[in-house]
Amino acid sequence: MSASTTTVDEPGLAPPTPGRPPAASPPVRRRGPRWRTLQALKGASFSLPFLAGFTLFVLVPIVMALRESVYSTKTSGLGFGGSTVTFVGADNLLRAGADTVFWAGMGRVGLYAVVVVPLTQVVSLGMALVLDAASRRVGARFRIALLLPYMVPGIVATMIWIYLYSPVVGPLHEFFELFGLDVNFYSSSLAWVSIGNLAVWGSIGFNMLILYGALQAVPHEIFEAARLDGASEARIAWSIKVPFVRGPLVLTSLLSIIGTLQIFNEPLLFRAVTPESITKDFTPAMMIFNQAFQVGNVNYATALSIVLALVVGAGSAVIYRFLNRSEP
Protein backbone atom coordinates (compact mmCIF):
# COMPACT_ATOMS: atom_id res chain seq x y z
CA MET A 1 0.00 0.00 0.00
CA SER A 2 2.57 2.60 1.00
CA ALA A 3 5.55 1.31 -0.87
CA SER A 4 6.85 4.82 -1.48
CA THR A 5 6.64 5.89 2.15
CA THR A 6 8.50 2.89 3.47
CA THR A 7 11.36 3.04 1.03
CA VAL A 8 12.05 6.76 1.50
CA ASP A 9 13.59 6.47 4.93
CA GLU A 10 14.41 2.82 5.27
CA PRO A 11 16.77 2.95 8.24
CA GLY A 12 18.90 0.16 6.92
CA LEU A 13 19.73 2.14 3.80
CA ALA A 14 21.20 5.17 5.53
CA PRO A 15 24.61 4.71 7.13
CA PRO A 16 24.14 4.57 10.88
CA THR A 17 24.74 8.06 12.22
CA PRO A 18 24.69 7.87 15.98
CA GLY A 19 22.57 10.39 17.84
CA ARG A 20 20.64 11.52 14.80
CA PRO A 21 16.91 11.15 14.14
CA PRO A 22 15.87 9.44 10.89
CA ALA A 23 16.73 11.46 7.79
CA ALA A 24 13.17 12.17 6.69
CA SER A 25 11.99 14.18 9.66
CA PRO A 26 11.42 17.72 8.41
CA PRO A 27 11.03 19.70 11.65
CA VAL A 28 14.52 18.71 12.79
CA ARG A 29 15.69 22.34 12.72
CA ARG A 30 13.73 23.29 15.83
CA ARG A 31 15.13 20.43 17.89
CA GLY A 32 18.44 20.83 19.66
CA PRO A 33 21.20 18.28 20.23
CA ARG A 34 19.84 17.54 23.71
CA TRP A 35 16.54 16.42 22.22
CA ARG A 36 18.37 14.23 19.78
CA THR A 37 20.46 12.58 22.48
CA LEU A 38 17.37 11.98 24.56
CA GLN A 39 15.52 10.52 21.63
CA ALA A 40 18.43 8.23 20.78
CA LEU A 41 18.52 7.07 24.39
CA LYS A 42 14.81 6.33 24.36
CA GLY A 43 15.18 4.50 21.07
CA ALA A 44 18.00 2.41 22.49
CA SER A 45 15.98 1.67 25.61
CA PHE A 46 13.44 -0.33 23.57
CA SER A 47 15.93 -3.15 23.20
CA LEU A 48 17.09 -2.96 26.82
CA PRO A 49 14.86 -5.76 28.17
CA PHE A 50 16.00 -8.01 25.33
CA LEU A 51 19.67 -7.20 25.83
CA ALA A 52 19.44 -7.74 29.60
CA GLY A 53 17.80 -11.15 29.19
CA PHE A 54 20.07 -12.09 26.32
CA THR A 55 23.12 -11.27 28.41
CA LEU A 56 21.91 -13.31 31.38
CA PHE A 57 20.60 -16.34 29.52
CA VAL A 58 22.93 -16.52 26.50
CA LEU A 59 26.17 -14.61 27.05
CA VAL A 60 26.69 -15.50 30.72
CA PRO A 61 26.21 -19.26 30.11
CA ILE A 62 28.74 -19.13 27.25
CA VAL A 63 31.31 -17.51 29.55
CA MET A 64 30.46 -20.07 32.24
CA ALA A 65 30.90 -22.89 29.74
CA LEU A 66 34.39 -21.69 28.96
CA ARG A 67 35.14 -21.38 32.68
CA GLU A 68 33.72 -24.77 33.68
CA SER A 69 35.69 -26.54 31.00
CA VAL A 70 39.08 -25.54 32.41
CA TYR A 71 38.39 -26.95 35.87
CA SER A 72 38.06 -30.43 37.21
CA THR A 73 35.86 -31.36 40.17
CA LYS A 74 36.90 -34.32 42.30
CA THR A 75 34.70 -35.75 45.00
CA SER A 76 36.85 -36.98 47.86
CA GLY A 77 36.23 -40.30 49.57
CA LEU A 78 32.70 -41.58 49.31
CA GLY A 79 31.23 -38.23 48.46
CA PHE A 80 31.04 -37.07 52.08
CA GLY A 81 34.02 -34.79 52.40
CA GLY A 82 32.83 -32.30 49.79
CA SER A 83 34.62 -31.79 46.52
CA THR A 84 37.83 -30.17 45.41
CA VAL A 85 38.06 -28.04 42.31
CA THR A 86 41.37 -27.90 40.51
CA PHE A 87 42.45 -25.89 37.52
CA VAL A 88 43.37 -28.23 34.68
CA GLY A 89 43.64 -25.82 31.76
CA ALA A 90 42.89 -27.32 28.38
CA ASP A 91 43.01 -30.93 29.65
CA ASN A 92 39.23 -31.46 29.47
CA LEU A 93 39.03 -29.97 26.00
CA LEU A 94 41.95 -32.03 24.73
CA ARG A 95 40.44 -35.17 26.24
CA ALA A 96 37.07 -34.34 24.64
CA GLY A 97 38.71 -33.65 21.29
CA ALA A 98 40.32 -37.10 21.38
CA ASP A 99 37.36 -39.01 22.87
CA THR A 100 36.70 -41.91 20.52
CA VAL A 101 33.23 -42.63 21.99
CA PHE A 102 32.24 -39.02 21.33
CA TRP A 103 33.56 -39.05 17.76
CA ALA A 104 31.89 -42.39 17.09
CA GLY A 105 28.58 -40.73 18.02
CA MET A 106 29.45 -37.75 15.83
CA GLY A 107 30.18 -40.12 12.97
CA ARG A 108 26.83 -41.84 13.41
CA VAL A 109 24.80 -38.62 13.38
CA GLY A 110 26.95 -37.12 10.62
CA LEU A 111 26.33 -40.10 8.35
CA TYR A 112 22.66 -40.13 9.26
CA ALA A 113 22.30 -36.40 8.54
CA VAL A 114 24.15 -36.59 5.24
CA VAL A 115 21.83 -39.38 4.06
CA VAL A 116 18.44 -38.42 5.47
CA VAL A 117 18.44 -34.65 4.90
CA PRO A 118 19.28 -34.68 1.17
CA LEU A 119 16.97 -37.65 0.68
CA THR A 120 14.07 -35.72 2.20
CA GLN A 121 14.84 -32.67 0.09
CA VAL A 122 15.24 -34.53 -3.18
CA VAL A 123 12.02 -36.50 -2.71
CA SER A 124 10.17 -33.34 -1.66
CA LEU A 125 11.48 -31.52 -4.71
CA GLY A 126 10.52 -34.38 -7.00
CA MET A 127 6.99 -34.37 -5.69
CA ALA A 128 6.73 -30.59 -5.80
CA LEU A 129 7.76 -30.73 -9.48
CA VAL A 130 5.19 -33.44 -10.22
CA LEU A 131 2.53 -31.39 -8.54
CA ASP A 132 3.61 -28.20 -10.29
CA ALA A 133 3.67 -29.79 -13.73
CA ALA A 134 0.22 -31.29 -13.50
CA SER A 135 -2.29 -29.14 -11.79
CA ARG A 136 -2.50 -26.14 -9.55
CA ARG A 137 -5.73 -27.06 -7.86
CA VAL A 138 -5.17 -30.68 -6.88
CA GLY A 139 -2.42 -29.77 -4.41
CA ALA A 140 -4.65 -27.49 -2.40
CA ARG A 141 -7.07 -30.34 -1.72
CA PHE A 142 -4.32 -32.40 -0.12
CA ARG A 143 -2.70 -29.53 1.76
CA ILE A 144 -4.04 -30.14 5.27
CA ALA A 145 -3.45 -33.91 5.10
CA LEU A 146 0.15 -33.38 3.98
CA LEU A 147 0.79 -30.75 6.64
CA LEU A 148 -0.65 -32.80 9.52
CA PRO A 149 2.63 -34.55 10.47
CA TYR A 150 4.30 -31.16 10.76
CA MET A 151 1.72 -30.08 13.36
CA VAL A 152 2.19 -33.14 15.58
CA PRO A 153 4.60 -32.55 18.50
CA GLY A 154 7.94 -34.26 17.84
CA ILE A 155 7.72 -36.35 21.01
CA VAL A 156 4.25 -37.63 20.10
CA ALA A 157 5.38 -38.39 16.54
CA THR A 158 8.29 -40.42 17.90
CA MET A 159 6.02 -42.29 20.29
CA ILE A 160 3.51 -43.11 17.54
CA TRP A 161 6.25 -44.57 15.38
CA ILE A 162 7.79 -46.43 18.32
CA TYR A 163 4.44 -48.18 18.74
CA LEU A 164 4.02 -48.72 15.01
CA TYR A 165 7.46 -50.36 14.90
CA SER A 166 6.76 -52.41 18.00
CA PRO A 167 6.76 -56.19 17.45
CA VAL A 168 3.83 -56.55 19.91
CA VAL A 169 1.44 -53.61 19.34
CA GLY A 170 2.52 -52.31 15.93
CA PRO A 171 0.87 -53.22 12.64
CA LEU A 172 4.12 -52.80 10.66
CA HIS A 173 5.72 -55.94 12.02
CA GLU A 174 2.65 -57.95 11.02
CA PHE A 175 2.62 -56.31 7.60
CA PHE A 176 6.18 -57.36 6.83
CA GLU A 177 5.45 -60.85 8.12
CA LEU A 178 2.96 -61.20 5.28
CA PHE A 179 5.98 -61.23 2.97
CA GLY A 180 7.82 -63.63 5.22
CA LEU A 181 10.11 -60.93 6.54
CA ASP A 182 10.94 -60.74 10.22
CA VAL A 183 11.88 -57.09 10.51
CA ASN A 184 13.06 -55.82 13.87
CA PHE A 185 12.86 -52.03 13.71
CA TYR A 186 14.39 -51.75 17.19
CA SER A 187 17.61 -53.58 16.33
CA SER A 188 20.80 -51.58 16.28
CA SER A 189 21.24 -52.14 12.55
CA LEU A 190 17.80 -50.66 11.76
CA ALA A 191 17.60 -48.00 14.49
CA TRP A 192 18.81 -45.19 12.22
CA VAL A 193 16.49 -46.31 9.43
CA SER A 194 13.58 -46.25 11.89
CA ILE A 195 14.54 -42.79 13.14
CA GLY A 196 15.15 -41.60 9.57
CA ASN A 197 11.70 -42.71 8.44
CA LEU A 198 10.15 -40.80 11.29
CA ALA A 199 12.11 -37.68 10.38
CA VAL A 200 11.05 -38.01 6.75
CA TRP A 201 7.44 -38.51 7.83
CA GLY A 202 7.53 -35.31 9.87
CA SER A 203 8.98 -33.06 7.21
CA ILE A 204 8.28 -34.32 3.70
CA GLY A 205 4.78 -32.90 3.18
CA PHE A 206 5.77 -29.55 4.62
CA ASN A 207 8.94 -29.33 2.51
CA MET A 208 7.03 -30.25 -0.57
CA LEU A 209 4.49 -27.47 -0.05
CA ILE A 210 7.24 -24.89 0.63
CA LEU A 211 9.00 -25.86 -2.61
CA TYR A 212 5.70 -25.98 -4.48
CA GLY A 213 5.02 -22.42 -3.29
CA ALA A 214 8.46 -21.33 -4.48
CA LEU A 215 7.88 -22.95 -7.88
CA GLN A 216 4.64 -21.06 -8.33
CA ALA A 217 6.58 -17.82 -8.13
CA VAL A 218 8.46 -18.68 -11.36
CA PRO A 219 7.12 -16.39 -14.11
CA HIS A 220 5.09 -18.53 -16.47
CA GLU A 221 6.11 -16.60 -19.58
CA ILE A 222 9.45 -18.41 -19.36
CA PHE A 223 7.73 -21.79 -19.72
CA GLU A 224 5.76 -20.64 -22.74
CA ALA A 225 8.94 -19.36 -24.36
CA ALA A 226 10.71 -22.66 -23.62
CA ARG A 227 7.81 -24.67 -25.07
CA LEU A 228 7.84 -22.58 -28.22
CA ASP A 229 11.53 -23.38 -28.51
CA GLY A 230 10.63 -27.06 -28.34
CA ALA A 231 11.67 -27.90 -24.77
CA SER A 232 10.01 -30.93 -23.16
CA GLU A 233 8.30 -30.70 -19.76
CA ALA A 234 11.11 -32.67 -18.17
CA ARG A 235 13.67 -30.33 -19.69
CA ILE A 236 11.73 -27.30 -18.42
CA ALA A 237 11.64 -28.81 -14.93
CA TRP A 238 15.36 -29.57 -14.90
CA SER A 239 16.68 -26.43 -16.59
CA ILE A 240 14.28 -23.75 -15.36
CA LYS A 241 12.42 -24.84 -12.26
CA VAL A 242 15.20 -26.63 -10.38
CA PRO A 243 17.72 -23.78 -10.71
CA PHE A 244 15.03 -21.41 -9.49
CA VAL A 245 14.67 -23.17 -6.12
CA ARG A 246 18.24 -24.48 -5.83
CA GLY A 247 19.45 -21.63 -3.59
CA PRO A 248 16.88 -22.05 -0.82
CA LEU A 249 17.05 -25.82 -1.19
CA VAL A 250 20.81 -26.00 -0.61
CA LEU A 251 20.54 -23.57 2.28
CA THR A 252 17.76 -25.44 4.09
CA SER A 253 19.54 -28.77 3.54
CA LEU A 254 22.79 -27.52 4.99
CA LEU A 255 21.02 -25.91 7.94
CA SER A 256 19.11 -29.06 8.76
CA ILE A 257 22.27 -31.17 8.52
CA ILE A 258 23.76 -28.84 11.13
CA GLY A 259 20.65 -29.14 13.28
CA THR A 260 20.61 -32.91 12.94
CA LEU A 261 24.12 -33.19 14.41
CA GLN A 262 22.51 -32.20 17.71
CA ILE A 263 19.78 -34.87 17.56
CA PHE A 264 18.71 -35.94 21.04
CA ASN A 265 14.96 -36.46 21.60
CA GLU A 266 14.28 -39.25 19.10
CA PRO A 267 17.17 -41.56 20.05
CA LEU A 268 16.48 -40.95 23.75
CA LEU A 269 12.87 -42.07 23.31
CA PHE A 270 13.99 -45.13 21.35
CA ARG A 271 16.39 -45.87 24.18
CA ALA A 272 13.40 -46.07 26.54
CA VAL A 273 12.10 -49.10 24.63
CA THR A 274 15.31 -50.62 23.30
CA PRO A 275 18.25 -49.75 25.58
CA GLU A 276 20.37 -52.57 24.20
CA SER A 277 20.61 -51.13 20.68
CA ILE A 278 20.58 -47.41 21.53
CA THR A 279 23.48 -46.91 23.93
CA LYS A 280 23.75 -44.00 26.34
CA ASP A 281 26.44 -42.41 24.15
CA PHE A 282 24.59 -42.98 20.88
CA THR A 283 24.72 -39.33 19.76
CA PRO A 284 26.99 -36.46 20.89
CA ALA A 285 24.07 -34.68 22.60
CA MET A 286 23.10 -37.87 24.44
CA MET A 287 26.68 -38.34 25.61
CA ILE A 288 26.80 -34.74 26.91
CA PHE A 289 23.50 -35.28 28.72
CA ASN A 290 24.75 -38.51 30.21
CA GLN A 291 28.07 -37.04 31.35
CA ALA A 292 26.45 -34.00 32.95
CA PHE A 293 23.35 -35.43 34.60
CA GLN A 294 23.97 -39.14 35.09
CA VAL A 295 27.73 -39.34 35.63
CA GLY A 296 27.72 -35.87 37.17
CA ASN A 297 30.89 -34.66 35.46
CA VAL A 298 29.75 -31.16 34.54
CA ASN A 299 33.27 -30.02 33.64
CA TYR A 300 33.81 -32.72 31.08
CA ALA A 301 30.25 -32.38 29.73
CA THR A 302 30.90 -28.69 29.12
CA ALA A 303 34.12 -29.49 27.31
CA LEU A 304 32.21 -31.93 25.09
CA SER A 305 29.53 -29.26 24.48
CA ILE A 306 32.23 -26.84 23.36
CA VAL A 307 33.68 -29.36 20.91
CA LEU A 308 30.18 -30.06 19.52
CA ALA A 309 29.51 -26.31 19.31
CA LEU A 310 32.80 -25.79 17.45
CA VAL A 311 31.88 -28.44 14.88
CA VAL A 312 28.35 -27.07 14.47
CA GLY A 313 29.46 -23.43 14.58
CA ALA A 314 32.20 -23.97 11.99
CA GLY A 315 29.67 -25.68 9.73
CA SER A 316 27.15 -22.85 10.14
CA ALA A 317 29.80 -20.18 9.54
CA VAL A 318 30.81 -21.85 6.28
CA ILE A 319 27.15 -21.94 5.24
CA TYR A 320 26.58 -18.26 6.00
CA ARG A 321 29.75 -17.35 4.11
CA PHE A 322 28.59 -19.40 1.16
CA LEU A 323 25.13 -17.86 1.38
CA ASN A 324 26.41 -14.28 1.49
CA ARG A 325 28.51 -14.87 -1.57
CA SER A 326 25.87 -16.62 -3.67
CA GLU A 327 23.03 -14.22 -2.94
CA PRO A 328 23.11 -10.55 -3.92
Binding site: T6, A24, G43, V58, L131, S135
Partner: protein, 295 residues
Protein backbone atom coordinates in the same frame (compact mmCIF):
# COMPACT_ATOMS: atom_id res chain seq x y z
CA UNK B 1 0.36 -6.48 -9.14
CA UNK B 2 0.77 -9.17 -11.76
CA UNK B 3 -0.39 -11.78 -9.31
CA UNK B 4 -3.91 -11.77 -10.72
CA UNK B 5 -2.53 -12.41 -14.19
CA UNK B 6 -0.42 -15.30 -12.96
CA UNK B 7 -3.36 -16.79 -11.12
CA UNK B 8 -5.58 -16.61 -14.19
CA UNK B 9 -3.09 -18.32 -16.45
CA UNK B 10 -2.53 -20.85 -13.67
CA UNK B 11 -6.14 -21.94 -13.78
CA UNK B 12 -5.97 -22.78 -17.44
CA UNK B 13 -5.06 -26.39 -18.16
CA UNK B 14 -1.36 -26.76 -18.84
CA UNK B 15 0.02 -29.03 -21.51
CA UNK B 16 0.65 -31.81 -19.02
CA UNK B 17 -2.74 -31.49 -17.44
CA UNK B 18 -4.37 -32.23 -20.76
CA UNK B 19 -2.75 -35.64 -20.74
CA UNK B 20 -4.91 -37.88 -18.61
CA UNK B 21 -2.26 -40.44 -17.74
CA UNK B 22 0.07 -38.03 -16.01
CA UNK B 23 -2.86 -36.59 -14.16
CA UNK B 24 -3.72 -39.99 -12.69
CA UNK B 25 -0.08 -40.55 -11.85
CA UNK B 26 0.05 -37.32 -9.87
CA UNK B 27 -3.17 -38.19 -8.10
CA UNK B 28 -1.83 -41.65 -7.19
CA UNK B 29 1.39 -40.15 -5.81
CA UNK B 30 -0.57 -37.62 -3.78
CA UNK B 31 -2.95 -40.23 -2.39
CA UNK B 32 -0.03 -42.47 -1.40
CA UNK B 33 1.73 -39.55 0.26
CA UNK B 34 -1.43 -38.48 2.08
CA UNK B 35 -1.92 -42.06 3.31
CA UNK B 36 1.68 -42.09 4.58
CA UNK B 37 1.11 -38.75 6.31
CA UNK B 38 -2.24 -39.55 7.88
CA UNK B 39 -1.85 -43.31 8.50
CA UNK B 40 0.14 -43.10 11.75
CA UNK B 41 -2.29 -40.49 13.11
CA UNK B 42 -5.19 -42.74 12.19
CA UNK B 43 -3.51 -45.51 14.18
CA UNK B 44 -3.21 -43.14 17.16
CA UNK B 45 -6.90 -42.21 17.04
CA UNK B 46 -7.98 -45.85 16.72
CA UNK B 47 -5.60 -47.01 19.45
CA UNK B 48 -6.89 -44.37 21.85
CA UNK B 49 -10.33 -45.97 21.70
CA UNK B 50 -9.14 -49.45 22.66
CA UNK B 51 -8.64 -51.17 25.96
CA UNK B 52 -5.12 -52.14 26.94
CA UNK B 53 -5.76 -55.78 26.11
CA UNK B 54 -7.25 -55.13 22.68
CA UNK B 55 -4.25 -52.95 21.76
CA UNK B 56 -2.29 -56.18 21.51
CA UNK B 57 -4.89 -58.51 20.12
CA UNK B 58 -6.90 -56.58 17.50
CA UNK B 59 -6.06 -55.08 14.11
CA UNK B 60 -4.22 -51.81 14.75
CA UNK B 61 -5.90 -49.94 11.93
CA UNK B 62 -9.52 -50.59 12.83
CA UNK B 63 -11.74 -50.06 15.86
CA UNK B 64 -12.56 -52.79 18.36
CA UNK B 65 -14.76 -52.12 21.41
CA UNK B 66 -15.08 -48.36 21.62
CA UNK B 67 -13.66 -47.49 25.02
CA UNK B 68 -12.45 -43.91 24.54
CA UNK B 69 -14.40 -42.52 27.50
CA UNK B 70 -13.05 -45.21 29.84
CA UNK B 71 -9.54 -44.46 28.63
CA UNK B 72 -10.04 -40.75 29.18
CA UNK B 73 -11.39 -41.39 32.68
CA UNK B 74 -8.34 -43.53 33.50
CA UNK B 75 -6.00 -40.96 31.97
CA UNK B 76 -7.32 -38.10 34.06
CA UNK B 77 -7.59 -40.05 37.33
CA UNK B 78 -4.35 -42.08 37.25
CA UNK B 79 -1.92 -40.91 39.96
CA UNK B 80 -4.49 -38.42 41.32
CA UNK B 81 -5.02 -36.83 37.92
CA UNK B 82 -1.41 -35.84 37.33
CA UNK B 83 -2.01 -35.74 33.56
CA UNK B 84 -4.42 -32.81 33.99
CA UNK B 85 -1.74 -31.04 36.01
CA UNK B 86 0.83 -31.65 33.26
CA UNK B 87 -1.52 -30.19 30.66
CA UNK B 88 -2.18 -27.16 32.86
CA UNK B 89 1.59 -26.65 33.41
CA UNK B 90 2.15 -26.79 29.66
CA UNK B 91 -0.53 -24.17 29.07
CA UNK B 92 0.93 -21.89 31.77
CA UNK B 93 4.55 -22.19 30.57
CA UNK B 94 3.65 -21.75 26.92
CA UNK B 95 1.32 -18.79 27.48
CA UNK B 96 3.48 -16.79 29.88
CA UNK B 97 6.70 -17.46 27.96
CA UNK B 98 5.13 -16.53 24.63
CA UNK B 99 3.52 -13.34 25.97
CA UNK B 100 6.85 -12.26 27.45
CA UNK B 101 8.79 -13.10 24.30
CA UNK B 102 6.29 -11.24 22.11
CA UNK B 103 6.44 -8.06 24.22
CA UNK B 104 10.26 -8.11 24.49
CA UNK B 105 10.75 -8.86 20.77
CA UNK B 106 8.28 -6.28 19.44
CA UNK B 107 9.86 -3.53 21.55
CA UNK B 108 13.41 -4.48 20.60
CA UNK B 109 12.58 -4.97 16.92
CA UNK B 110 10.81 -1.61 16.78
CA UNK B 111 13.66 0.21 18.51
CA UNK B 112 16.29 -1.27 16.21
CA UNK B 113 14.26 -0.60 13.07
CA UNK B 114 13.11 2.94 13.82
CA UNK B 115 15.89 4.70 15.77
CA UNK B 116 19.49 5.54 15.08
CA UNK B 117 21.75 5.25 18.08
CA UNK B 118 25.19 4.16 19.14
CA UNK B 119 25.17 0.42 19.78
CA UNK B 120 22.45 -0.39 17.25
CA UNK B 121 24.90 -2.14 14.95
CA UNK B 122 26.35 -4.04 17.90
CA UNK B 123 22.88 -5.24 18.91
CA UNK B 124 22.20 -6.46 15.38
CA UNK B 125 25.61 -8.15 15.37
CA UNK B 126 24.75 -9.99 18.60
CA UNK B 127 21.42 -11.10 17.14
CA UNK B 128 22.85 -12.40 13.87
CA UNK B 129 25.85 -13.90 15.66
CA UNK B 130 23.64 -15.79 18.10
CA UNK B 131 22.02 -17.65 15.18
CA UNK B 132 25.31 -19.54 15.05
CA UNK B 133 25.16 -20.71 18.67
CA UNK B 134 23.97 -24.31 18.78
CA UNK B 135 21.34 -25.10 21.38
CA UNK B 136 23.32 -28.03 22.72
CA UNK B 137 26.10 -25.71 23.92
CA UNK B 138 23.68 -23.90 26.23
CA UNK B 139 22.15 -26.75 28.17
CA UNK B 140 24.95 -27.69 30.61
CA UNK B 141 26.15 -24.15 31.44
CA UNK B 142 22.49 -23.06 31.80
CA UNK B 143 22.12 -25.83 34.37
CA UNK B 144 25.05 -24.42 36.33
CA UNK B 145 23.69 -20.87 36.02
CA UNK B 146 20.13 -21.79 37.04
CA UNK B 147 21.40 -23.66 40.09
CA UNK B 148 23.41 -20.62 41.08
CA UNK B 149 20.66 -18.01 40.65
CA UNK B 150 18.07 -20.28 42.22
CA UNK B 151 15.67 -20.93 39.36
CA UNK B 152 16.66 -24.59 38.85
CA UNK B 153 13.60 -26.81 39.36
CA UNK B 154 11.20 -23.83 39.38
CA UNK B 155 8.67 -22.78 36.74
CA UNK B 156 10.89 -19.77 35.95
CA UNK B 157 13.43 -22.10 34.37
CA UNK B 158 10.72 -22.90 31.84
CA UNK B 159 9.39 -19.38 31.27
CA UNK B 160 12.24 -16.85 31.54
CA UNK B 161 15.03 -18.15 29.25
CA UNK B 162 12.65 -18.49 26.30
CA UNK B 163 11.67 -14.83 26.46
CA UNK B 164 14.84 -13.56 24.82
CA UNK B 165 14.90 -15.19 21.42
CA UNK B 166 17.04 -13.38 18.89
CA UNK B 167 15.19 -14.83 15.90
CA UNK B 168 11.95 -13.25 17.14
CA UNK B 169 13.65 -9.85 17.47
CA UNK B 170 14.96 -10.23 13.94
CA UNK B 171 11.47 -11.07 12.69
CA UNK B 172 9.99 -8.05 14.52
CA UNK B 173 12.69 -5.74 13.18
CA UNK B 174 12.13 -6.83 9.57
CA UNK B 175 8.40 -6.43 10.01
CA UNK B 176 8.65 -3.00 11.69
CA UNK B 177 10.74 -1.67 8.82
CA UNK B 178 7.91 -2.42 6.42
CA UNK B 179 4.81 -1.90 8.52
CA UNK B 180 5.49 1.21 10.62
CA UNK B 181 5.87 4.35 8.44
CA UNK B 182 8.28 6.90 9.88
CA UNK B 183 5.94 9.71 8.79
CA UNK B 184 3.34 8.36 11.17
CA UNK B 185 5.82 8.37 14.05
CA UNK B 186 6.84 11.92 13.17
CA UNK B 187 3.21 13.06 12.99
CA UNK B 188 2.52 11.56 16.40
CA UNK B 189 5.59 13.38 17.77
CA UNK B 190 4.33 16.69 16.43
CA UNK B 191 1.01 15.97 18.13
CA UNK B 192 2.96 15.70 21.36
CA UNK B 193 3.04 11.94 21.95
CA UNK B 194 6.07 10.59 23.78
CA UNK B 195 8.28 7.88 22.28
CA UNK B 196 6.93 5.10 24.52
CA UNK B 197 3.35 6.18 23.95
CA UNK B 198 3.92 6.08 20.18
CA UNK B 199 5.15 2.51 20.47
CA UNK B 200 2.41 1.34 22.81
CA UNK B 201 -0.57 2.88 21.05
CA UNK B 202 0.50 3.05 17.38
CA UNK B 203 3.50 0.91 16.43
CA UNK B 204 2.65 -2.15 18.52
CA UNK B 205 -0.75 -2.29 16.82
CA UNK B 206 0.71 -1.96 13.35
CA UNK B 207 3.01 -4.85 14.22
CA UNK B 208 0.12 -7.10 15.21
CA UNK B 209 0.81 -9.72 12.54
CA UNK B 210 4.44 -10.04 13.57
CA UNK B 211 3.33 -10.29 17.19
CA UNK B 212 0.87 -13.08 16.42
CA UNK B 213 3.52 -14.98 14.43
CA UNK B 214 6.11 -14.70 17.21
CA UNK B 215 3.55 -15.72 19.82
CA UNK B 216 2.32 -18.70 17.83
CA UNK B 217 5.76 -20.06 16.87
CA UNK B 218 7.00 -19.88 20.45
CA UNK B 219 3.77 -21.26 21.88
CA UNK B 220 4.06 -24.34 19.67
CA UNK B 221 7.79 -24.76 20.31
CA UNK B 222 7.22 -24.41 24.03
CA UNK B 223 4.35 -26.91 24.01
CA UNK B 224 6.62 -29.42 22.30
CA UNK B 225 9.79 -28.77 24.28
CA UNK B 226 11.36 -31.81 25.89
CA UNK B 227 15.08 -31.62 26.66
CA UNK B 228 14.79 -28.38 28.60
CA UNK B 229 12.26 -29.63 31.22
CA UNK B 230 14.05 -33.00 31.28
CA UNK B 231 17.16 -31.22 32.53
CA UNK B 232 15.68 -28.39 34.59
CA UNK B 233 12.60 -29.83 36.34
CA UNK B 234 12.97 -32.56 38.93
CA UNK B 235 9.52 -32.70 40.52
CA UNK B 236 6.85 -34.53 38.49
CA UNK B 237 4.21 -32.02 39.60
CA UNK B 238 5.99 -29.28 37.61
CA UNK B 239 6.47 -31.27 34.39
CA UNK B 240 4.90 -30.27 31.11
CA UNK B 241 2.90 -32.90 29.26
CA UNK B 242 5.63 -34.14 26.85
CA UNK B 243 8.00 -35.00 29.69
CA UNK B 244 5.18 -36.66 31.62
CA UNK B 245 4.31 -38.88 28.65
CA UNK B 246 7.98 -39.82 28.29
CA UNK B 247 8.13 -40.86 31.94
CA UNK B 248 5.15 -43.15 31.33
CA UNK B 249 6.69 -44.56 28.17
CA UNK B 250 9.85 -45.34 30.10
CA UNK B 251 8.04 -46.90 33.06
CA UNK B 252 5.69 -48.85 30.81
CA UNK B 253 8.59 -50.93 29.66
CA UNK B 254 10.51 -51.62 32.83
CA UNK B 255 7.83 -52.47 35.39
CA UNK B 256 4.79 -54.66 35.78
CA UNK B 257 2.33 -51.80 35.21
CA UNK B 258 1.35 -51.47 31.53
CA UNK B 259 0.89 -47.79 30.75
CA UNK B 260 0.71 -48.15 26.96
CA UNK B 261 -2.96 -47.25 26.73
CA UNK B 262 -2.39 -44.16 28.89
CA UNK B 263 0.54 -43.01 26.76
CA UNK B 264 -1.51 -43.44 23.58
CA UNK B 265 -4.58 -41.59 24.87
CA UNK B 266 -2.40 -38.90 26.45
CA UNK B 267 -0.51 -38.41 23.19
CA UNK B 268 -3.77 -37.90 21.34
CA UNK B 269 -5.11 -35.42 23.91
CA UNK B 270 -1.89 -33.37 23.94
CA UNK B 271 -1.73 -33.28 20.13
CA UNK B 272 -5.28 -32.08 19.44
CA UNK B 273 -4.73 -28.51 20.75
CA UNK B 274 -1.62 -28.14 18.57
CA UNK B 275 -3.31 -29.37 15.41
CA UNK B 276 -6.36 -27.16 16.07
CA UNK B 277 -4.16 -24.13 16.73
CA UNK B 278 -1.93 -24.68 13.71
CA UNK B 279 -4.86 -25.17 11.35
CA UNK B 280 -6.69 -22.13 12.71
CA UNK B 281 -3.61 -19.90 12.45
CA UNK B 282 -2.05 -21.24 9.26
CA UNK B 283 -1.43 -17.86 7.74
CA UNK B 284 0.80 -16.81 10.64
CA UNK B 285 3.09 -19.79 11.02
CA UNK B 286 3.42 -20.48 7.34
CA UNK B 287 4.73 -16.96 6.75
CA UNK B 288 6.97 -17.15 9.81
CA UNK B 289 8.39 -20.52 8.89
CA UNK B 290 8.96 -19.44 5.31
CA UNK B 291 11.01 -16.47 6.48
CA UNK B 292 12.96 -18.77 8.75
CA UNK B 293 13.69 -21.50 6.25
CA UNK B 294 14.05 -19.69 2.96
CA UNK B 295 15.61 -16.38 3.92
Amino acid sequence: MSRAAVRRSADEPTAAEARGASRWFVLAVLVALAAYAVGPLWWLVVAATKSNGQLYTTNGLWFADFRLSENLATLFTYQDGIFGLWLWNTVVYSTLGSLGLTAVSLAAGYGIAKYQYRGRALTMGLIIGSFLIPGSLMIVPSFVLFSRIGIYDTIWAMILPGMFGSFSVYLAKVYAEGAVPSELIEAARIDGAGEYRIFASIAARLMGTAGATIFLLHFVASWNTFMWPLVFLKGAEKWPVMLGLYSWLQRGTDSTVDLTSLVVTGSLISTIPMVALMIAMQRYWRSGVTIGSLK
